[in-house]
């Protein structure tokens, strides 16, 4: 049973608008969450993370929000750019344990 779920396989957004990617998790022991970006035929690249003691973390155009009561996190990209078109994976880890659990990914297409 998947402990990290991304229920939207794809998302299409106009350049300059906001992209919102969503992720849900089931394991309440997760306390560190990450977003990765992946282009075809390349390895995932780390984007941004958040620990469970926070509810928001920003890095430039990227903001991650964490709602622990709902076991939900989201990644906001503002403004979206065509170069952001990629597959985005959310991931979670129990602190001090070594396993990362990944969602199934959301393919973002930013249209010029």
């Amino acid at each position: 049973d998947q402990q990290v779920k991304q229920n939207s396989p794809s998302l299409s957004v106009q350049e300059g608008r906001i992209s919102i990617l969503n992720c849900d998790y089931t394991n309440s022991m997760f306390d560190y969450f990450l977003w990765y970006k992946k282009y075809p035929a390349e390895g995932p690249t780390f984007l941004i993370s958040i620990s469970s003691i926070k509810d928001k973390n920003e890095d430039g155009r990227f903001t991650v929000f964490l709602n622990k009561s709902a076991k939900h996190l989201s990644l906001h990209i503002v403004p979206s750019q065509p170069g952001d078109s990629a597959v985005y994976f959310c991931a979670a880890r129990v602190y001090n344990f070594n396993k990362f659990y990944f969602g199934s990914g959301t393919k973002l297409n930013v249209k010029p």
Binding site: Q2, Q6, P9, L34, Y36, A41, E42, G43, P44, T45, F46, S49, F89, A91, N98, K99, F100, Y101, F102, G103, S104, G105
Partner: protein, 110 residues
């Protein structure tokens, strides 16, 4: 910058062959991982290692084994390749924070 290097970008192997996928990291990370990526299934953990000679099964270890004789190197072994092992294989390493990934190996078993 952390560098995780996988030995091959593309491999084509025959059914029944023994296949070795090699991964090297240059940041002295304790933890190393092997994942496979398949459409609609995300990244699934095959094996991971938290120290030299230490390994633990992930979610889909069947048909695979691993070797970690040196801290910087983590090898994935397909004992007898089968067509359902055609996939993108991703190696990663981490210390206490995020995992860093290699460029991936696209393996095709024919």
């Amino acid at each position: 910058d952390v560098k995780v290097t996988q030995s091959s970008r593309y491999l084509v192997k025959r059914t029944g062959e023994k296949v070795f996928l090699e991964c090297v990291q240059d940041m002295d990370h304790e933890n190393m991982f092997w994942y496979r990526q398949d459409p609609g299934l995300g990244l699934r953990l095959i094996y991971f290692s938290y120290d030299v000679k230490m390994k633990e099964k992930g979610d889909i270890p069947e048909g695979y084994s691993v070797s970690r004789e040196k801290k910087e190197r983590f090898s994935l072994i397909l004992e007898s390749a089968s067509t359902n092992q055609t996939s993108m294989y991703l190696c990663a390493s981490s210390f206490t924070g995020e995992a860093f990934f290699g460029q991936g190996t696209r393996l095709t078993v024919v």
